[in-house]
Structure formats: structure tokens, C-alpha cells
């Protein structure tokens, strides 16, 4: 089996062309990153607002928990049946899948953002007020930077989930690495399926490592120094399994 997978992956013909590995890799990355970016644009401001003002907290906690329970396959089918007929051209495939991926990515990022702001040391907030900063300034100069580790953790968790779920999107006609899984399944070409799976796993790891690097540069060193000694949870770890719930006891 390993031989056949290796043979499939090293076959040059599988890498080129409109349904080659490179093209599918780019498509997959495209779907995933677009979804995460849009989700972040929605979830981060919302999470910051909720964490800063404390309004809507209960709603968000429960929403984030319940959203994790929604089966993506079912949601995908509903989206395709509902949205597909409304569009023509390729958007009819991309819109439903994109919607599902964005909906999937919002809860982890939202959780990370609001938990991050909430978890800011009251002393830091106090000091900021003492220095004369008003609400929004406190948010921008103190709370946001302090919340960055948890926000980044939420983004990484969301990205992993989206990359994994974008595989299923191939069931509804989309491209991406999931194509190798679905096409391999349809004709029982197990080397193709296994190669697709391996590629998805490698892509997820690679993207996570890049994000870990981003985290290292973006998060203030004053913060990371604190984390390394105080908690066993190491936010600088190269790979984290998607488990944002561990960060708050809700």
C-alpha cells in the first residue's frame, strides 16, 4: 500500500493539468484562507466588542459550543440545495461551500477573541485608565495586544477545521484536495484517496506552522515571557489540536 501511494504521488502526470495536485492544492488553500479571513473580519471585531463591554457574553459562549456540534456535511447539503439554484456560473458551487466554511470558522475565532479580551489582567486595564486612555483606546492599545495569543490560537484552530472540512466540499462539486478523496472513493482508487488524505494533512501542518511563526512575530514578547512560566499550556507550540474549549471552563 505505501508503495502504491508513493508511486501515485511521484507520478509526474498527477501533478500537472487542470486536475493535478498543484492546481487542487492552490484551490484548497484559496477556499480555506478566504473563508478564514472573512470569518476573522466578522468574528474578531465582534469578539473584541463582547469581551470589552461584556454584553452578549452568555449568548456567545453557548453559540460557540453549539456551533461546534453542527455536522458540516448536513449544513453543506442544505446550503447547496438552498443557495445553488439562486446563482449561475461557478458561484453556485462556491457560495454554499464558502458560507459553510465561514460559519464553521467563526465560533473558534469568536471564542478566542472574547476570551482573550476577558482574560486581560485587570491591573493592565487599570493602568491604562490611569494613564488617561478612554474605552476604545484601552481596547486598541492594551486589550487587543494582550488578547492576541488567544485570538491567534482561535485562528489556528479555525484554520485547521476549515482545511479539514474543505475536503468534504468536493462532494458538492468543488475542487480542492478533497477531489482526490471523492474521486478515489468513486472508483475505489485507494492510492488516490490515501494520497489526497496525506496532502491535506501536510497542508494543514504547513499552514499551522506558518501561523505559529506569525504568532511568534505578532504577539508581544512581554506576553509570551509570562506564558512560558505560568501555565503548562504552551501557546507557542508548533502544532495545537483544535480544542479551544480547554481555555475556558464554560
Amino acid at each position: 500500500m505505501i508503495n502504491r501511494i508513493f508511486a501515485w504521488l511521484t507520478d509526474g502526470a498527477h501533478w500537472q493539468g487542470s486536475d493535478g495536485i498543484l492546481r487542487r492544492l492552490v484551490e484548497h488553500l484559496g477556499y480555506s484562507l478566504t473563508a478564514v479571513i472573512i470569518a476573522a473580519l466578522i468574528a474578531i471585531p465582534l469578539g473584541l466588542y463582547i469581551g470589552h463591554t461584556g454584553r452578549g457574553r452568555v449568548f456567545v459562549v453557548n453559540l460557540a459550543g453549539a456551533a461546534r456540534a453542527i455536522p458540516s456535511l448536513g449544513l453543506l447539503f442544505i446550503a447547496v440545495l438552498w443557495l445553488g439554484p439562486k446563482f449561475s456560473g461557478d458561484i453556485a458551487f462556491l457560495a454554499p461551500a464558502g458560507l459553510v466554511l465561514i460559519v464553521l470558522a467563526i465560533p473558534p475565532i469568536l471564542s478566542g477573541a472574547y476570551a482573550g479580551v476577558e482574560g486581560v489582567e485587570p491591573d493592565a486595564r487599570d493602568a491604562a485608565r490611569g494613564m488617561g486612555m478612554r474605552g476604545p483606546e484601552v481596547l486598541r492599545h492594551v486589550e487587543l495586544p494582550c488578547a492576541l495569543p488567544l485570538i491567534m490560537s482561535g485562528i489556528r484552530s479555525a484554520t485547521l477545521q476549515v482545511i479539514a472540512t474543505a475536503t468534504i466540499a468536493a462532494v458538492v462539486g468543488l475542487g480542492g484536495l478533497g477531489r482526490f478523496l471523492i474521486d478515489g472513493l468513486a472508483v475505489r482508487d485507494t492510492p488516490q484517496t490515501a494520497s489526497g488524505a496525506l496532502l491535506v494533512a501536510l497542508l494543514a501542518l504547513a499552514v499551522d506552522m506558518v501561523l505559529a511563526l506569525v504568532q511568534r512575530f505578532v504577539v508581544s514578547r512581554g506576553l509570551t515571557g509570562r506564558y512560558r512560566t505560568a501555565q503548562t499550556f504552551d501557546s507557542d507550540a508548533g502544532v495545537t489540536p483544535p480544542a479551544p474549549a480547554l481555555q475556558h471552563s464554560a
Binding site: G84, P85, S88, G89, A92, G173, I182, L185, A186, V187
Partner: protein
């Protein structure tokens, strides 16, 4: 004191799952594998492919066999032929509704027959030793290449061969397995010399394919001839003069060791009563009227005194 509490908690959790597992009674998930082919005599596992017509036919078979006292287990919506034939061979299922032409081409790489009786004869010879096919029915459901009326008018299309000059600018849609199947993309190239710009893997003649054709994501798509959406949307079925899609009569494919006189009599009776018009009507009730395949099957059997 603490230990008792923990033991209590663990027992409660274990009991919950135990109840769940045992509470499924006759549909015990563990026995879902058909007991590795060693099921008690007179019991049979009916499978189906992953499209509504196949599920409907499987329900019809299952209903008729139940009525004759055979114990039936259903495993519907398994997948494509490449997935369920191995399941048939390893004993996960025993019986599945099939179509003579494509099945013949699946087992026989040099399949040549195109007419109904020829295909059936060729199929009987090509089926592997452990399997067999019973009587075929008059009902046919073929693969077809379908275009919208607008496309047909634009390029003057009447038969599949007419696509040849335009194919390099057109997109073809079909189930993922069409990319490599002899009746799929390679077959269209071999018989009609069609080289499409792209092939878009969709589903087996389901809503994705219909939608893709309607909304212009593909210019031509593979649909099944009994599909009610062809008539509903005014789609045009392109003629197949070179018989790439040979005769496709509905036929039961069954493990030889499972055939008993009761079973073959029941299934042959169904095949005798099934014709293309009836099949089309039944499929319409399932897909358009959203009726349950089991209910539609029961009504068909009742109407024909088979259940």
C-alpha cells in the same frame, strides 16, 4: 466513599452505552455486517447504489422477499459500482439491483453486445463464479448525455456525435467515476471522438448535475433516462446511434449461494412486471413527489399482487 461515587459514575455511563447498543434489538449495529456471510438460511442482505432509483428497486426487491417470508436486511446508498461490487464479493451484501449493459462492461473489458438479449447473454457469461444474475426486466434506465434546449439549438445538436466539433470549448459534467469508466469520458472519446475542455465531477444524475446544467456550469451532463427532471426542464437527450450506452435492463445481481427457489421466483416475478414507463413513474414519485422509496415500493408490490 469517593471510590463508590466514581464506580457509580462509570457504571452509569457504561450502562447508558450498553442500553444504547442492546436497545437496537434486531438492528444491532454489531451484526450489521451480515455476520460475515454466515447468516441463517433464508435471510438476505439487499444493497443499493447511491441514487434514488437504485434505492427504490432495492426496496421493491426487499418488500417482495419479505412478503415471501425471507428475512431481509437493507443496506442502501452504499456508493458507486466500484464500491458495492467488492461489498457483494466479501459478503457484506448479497443482492443488488443492476443494469445489464454497464454491468456487462464492468465485468467484461471486451464487451461488444448492444441489444437487450445479446447484452444479457454476454453478461451471464461474464459474471464471476460466485455471483449470478436472475431474469432481466423490460424496464431500462440508460446513461445519457443531456443538454439544454438552448445549447441544442445553438449548436444544432441531435446526437452525441454532433458535439465533436464544439467539444473542445465545452464542459462535460458527470459522476466522479465517469472520468475513468469505459462508458464515461474515455468511451465518449473512443466512440464519438469527443475531447471536452473540462470534465466536472458532480454526482450520479442527482440535483448537482441537474443544477449544473440549468445554471450553465456545464454544457452537457450525464443524466439517467428515467430522470423526471429531464422532462421538467425541457432538457434534450442526445441520440446514441453508435450504442455507447448499450441496453440497460434492470436485473438482480445476487450471490449464487444465496439463491433459493423462493427468492428467484419472487425476483423473477418483479422483473416480469417492471417496464420502463412504470419505472419512470415510480422514480418520479420518489424524486419529485418526495415520497418514501419504501412506501412507493409497497404500493407497486400491492398493485401487482407481489407483496
Amino acid at each position: 466513599m469517593k471510590r463508590t461515587r466514581i464506580a457509580l459514575a462509570v457504571t452509569a455511563a457504561a450502562a447508558l452505552f450498553g442500553v444504547a447498543a442492546c436497545g437496537s434489538g434486531s438492528s444491532d449495529p454489531l451484526a450489521a455486517g451480515g455476520s460475515a456471510g454466515k447468516a441463517s438460511s433464508g435471510s438476505i442482505v439487499v444493497g443499493s447504489a447511491n441514487f434514488p432509483e437504485s434505492a427504490l428497486l432495492a426496496e421493491i426487491y426487499a418488500g417482495a422477499l419479505s412478503a415471501k417470508g425471507v428475512k431481509v436486511d437493507k443496506k442502501l446508498n452504499i456508493g458507486s459500482r466500484e464500491t458495492y461490487i467488492p461489498a457483494l464479493k466479501d459478503g457484506s451484501i448479497d443482492l443488488i439491483p443492476e443494469y445489464t449493459g454497464v454491468l456487462d462492461q464492468y465485468f467484461n473489458k471486451n464487451a461488444k453486445a448492444t441489444t437487450s438479449d445479446d447484452v444479457y447473454a454476454e453478461l451471464k457469461a461474464a459474471v464471476p463464479a460466485t455471483l449470478t444474475v436472475l431474469n432481466k426486466s423490460a424496464a431500462e434506465d440508460k446513461d445519457s448525455v443531456v443538454v439544454t434546449q438552448k445549447t441544442a439549438a445553438k449548436y444544432g445538436l441531435k446526437s452525441i456525435g454532433d458535439l465533436a466539433p464544439q467539444a473542445k470549448n465545452l464542459t462535460l459534467g458527470g459522476p466522479p467515476e465517469w472520468k475513468t469508466r469505459p462508458t464515461g469520458v474515455p468511451g465518449l472519446k473512443r466512440v464519438y471522438n469527443l475531447d471536452f475542455k473540462t470534465f466536472r465531477p458532480l454526482d450520479a444524475g442527482g440535483p448537482l448535475s441537474v443544477q449544473a446544467l440549468k445554471n450553465g456550469q456545464v454544457d452537457a451532463v450525464n443524466l439517467f433516462t428515467t430522470d423526471p427532471s429531464i422532462a421538467d426542464n425541457g432538457f434534450v437527450i442526445l441520440d446514441d446511434p453508435k450504442s455507447l450506452f448499450a441496453a440497460q435492463n434492470v436485473v438482480p445481481l445476487i450471490t449464487k449461494s444465496k439463491v433459493t427457489p423462493t427468492i428467484s421466483a419472487a425476483l423473477d416475478a418483479i422483473s416480469a412486471k417492471l417496464d420502463t414507463a412504470t419505472l419512470g413513474q415510480l422514480v418520479k414519485e420518489v424524486v419529485v413527489d418526495k415520497k418514501d422509496p419504501a412506501v412507493v415500493a409497497k404500493e407497486f408490490l400491492a398493485k401487482n399482487n407481489l407483496g
